[in-house]
Amino acid sequence: MIRANSLHKCFGKKVAVDDVSFAAADGRITGLLGPNGAGKTTTLRMLSTLIAPDRGHADVDGLDCQRDREQVLGRLGVLPDARGLYPRLTARENVRYFGQLHDLDGEALEREIDRLFTLLDMGELADRRVHGFSQGERVKVAIARTLVHGPRNVMLDEPTNGLDVMSTRTMREVIRRLRDQGCCVVFSSHVMQEVAALCDEIVVVARGTVVARGAPDELRELTGKQDLEDAFVAAIGTDEGLH
């Protein structure tokens, strides 16, 4: 369960997030949809404890993201905007590092890493150094590292950015699986089709504010548009930055 309550954040004079509230329930995929620069990444950074909101608060499973930082991070798996790996370590070592920082170790950790690499179709790359991996392979390692501790709450910032068709399919498969296991999944995207294909709940963000929210059907009803794309454009007020 991830909750944002009237989050506000300014950087200097620029208002990045201006009153964002939503609740992402367990066993549901919640999509944060909005054009580039709408405030999605800043919102996710507040939810993942890295940025303190100017006003409002965020919580994960009822734990405050600022006050109970380490407990929140223990229950959260985050794929942030920056997903750099350590090029001199192997894929396995990259994932193992994060697993160990979550207090996992030994046989159980290695089994979980193997399971994730198989799931992500990365088996044969596991023990190669990450240096020279393709964009898609790197994202997969980053995903494995996000999920290695089996978090009940998962946040993914533009997870399919830069992925080819096959990798995108794998990624969607992983996201659905997480939902089916009862996880609370929040992911952000500026790609409308993706949100439409995956989400149980959509939160439309524009200019730092939530402009609409609901299940895809509710959104159609709300805006009076039959086509989902038209519904989004109507909600945001412009099609700039959407694909």
Binding site: P80, R83, G84, Y97
Partner: protein, 390 residues
């Protein structure tokens, strides 16, 4: 703070560093190059200060002063024919000095008036200084001898022309003389402490952010202090290893240096090396702490490297000062990190006794200072501007 997390971060950073050519290079450069410089430097010094062998001295107008020439020859001066351009010969370093005897030397000498001799030297050159000094001494000796004979011929005791007799008594023990020369070793060891971990410090902070791995790393349920402590220990491990290695190779180099030719006696054995290590290891911890802090603060990898290069010069300054003007251990010097270590180190190398406080106080202060740096770095990692840059 968790020991387990500190260990995980430490091991990861160490693995990462040991697989990197650049960080290995920065850890190994001084252990390899420093001692080489020691040997070359000592050989050079030995050559310059050679106190044996004839002094070559080209003479212009040797035919005017056969007596003087004879005297010089018997005083270990190798009289050489006059070069075509005496001034050029001295300036270019071809000859350390050229002696010019004026044609009226013979007349003036016979009339017991000062006979003029010109000794061309170039005082801006270091290489011939010892030889020039010895040539001068031979000329002075000739003057003194002739003067004494003249007085005797006139029935006077030559002693009356020597109202005072100055004798220089050098109180420095050979050990202390050697220490002045040996100061280069603490300097190299100090540099190793700062250069050894420089790359890891940059790579694990500014590099971590530039690579885009800082944000994911901070998404782990680990206190920032544990994280920085792990990185700090990894940096200090490389600094310390580099420092110890420099000590070993420098000690071996001393064995190869022509110290006997310099009339220097050095007792730099295992026990001295161990004491130097004891004094210097806290410096590795201090250097690592300061470097992490500075590199975290820098906006980019490049900027961090620039700052850390400049930082490397800082600990060398007291070292250079001590080489020029060795100072005794005033109590306050112990309290200044780096300077304290260097003063204690000088005592160790000079063979002076060092009290427990001398070892302990600088070490404790260095550690305290390093931990402050770690704490501030951890605080910086909680700041949005530092995490995301910008």
């Amino acid at each position: 703070m968790s020991w387990r997390h500190i260990r995980v971060v430490f091991l990861k950073e160490l693995t990462d560093a040991l697989r990197d050519r650049r960080s290995l290079f920065s850890a190994l450069i001084l252990p390899l190059v420093g001692p080489l410089l020691v040997v070359v430097m000592f050989r050079f010094l030995a050559e310059q200060n050679a106190t044996t062998g004839p002094v070559p001295l080209p003479v212009v107008g040797a035919e005017y002063a056969p007596g003087l020439i004879e005297f010089l020859r018997s005083n270990d001066v190798d009289i050489q024919p006059a070069p075509e351009d005496p001034e050029q010969a001295v300036r270019s370093g071809l000859a350390p000095a050229v002696l010019i005897i004026e044609p009226d030397y013979e007349n003036r000498f016979r009339e017991a008036r000062p006979a003029k001799l010109e000794l061309l030297v170039d005082n801006s050159r270091n290489d011939g200084r010892a030889k020039v000094r010895r040539a001068k001494r031979a000329l002075d000796a000739f003057g003194a001898q002739t003067g004494a004979m003249r007085l005797l011929a006139r029935g006077l005791d030559p002693q009356i022309s020597r109202p005072v007799a100055v004798t220089e008594v050098d109180l420095a023990t050979p050990q202390q003389l050697a220490a002045n020369v040996l100061n280069v070793i603490p300097m190299f060891v100090m540099m190793a402490a700062f250069i050894g971990g420089m790359y890891v410090a940059t790579d694990s902070t500014a590099g971590e952010r530039e690579r885009g791995s800082l944000e994911p790393l901070l998404g782990n349920p680990v206190s920032r202090t544990s994280m920085v402590l792990g990185k700090w220990l990894a940096t200090a491990a490389l600094s310390g290893a580099s420092l110890l290695l420099t000590l070993v190779t420098a000690g071996m180099a001393l064995g190869l240096a022509p110290l006997d030719d310099l009339g220097i006696e050095v007792s730099f054995g295992v026990s001295e090396a161990l004491r130097v290590a004891l004094v210097m290891l806290p410096v590795a911890l201090l250097a690592a702490g300061v470097q992490l802090l500075v590199a975290t603060f820098a906006r980019s990898f490049r900027e961090a490297q620039t700052y850390l290069s400049v930082l490397t010069l800082a600990p060398m300054m007291p070292g250079m000062w001590l080489t020029v003007a060795p100072m005794d251990a005033a109590p306050w010097t112990f309290a200044v990190p780096i300077l304290g270590q260097q003063v204690v180190l000088m005592d160790v190398i000079r063979g002076n006794p060092v009290g427990l406080l001398g070892y302990l106080l600088p070490a404790v202060l260095a550690l305290a200072f390093a931990l402050v740096c770690v704490r501030v770095t951890a605080w910086l990692l909680g700041r949005e501007k530092i995490i995301f840059g910008g």
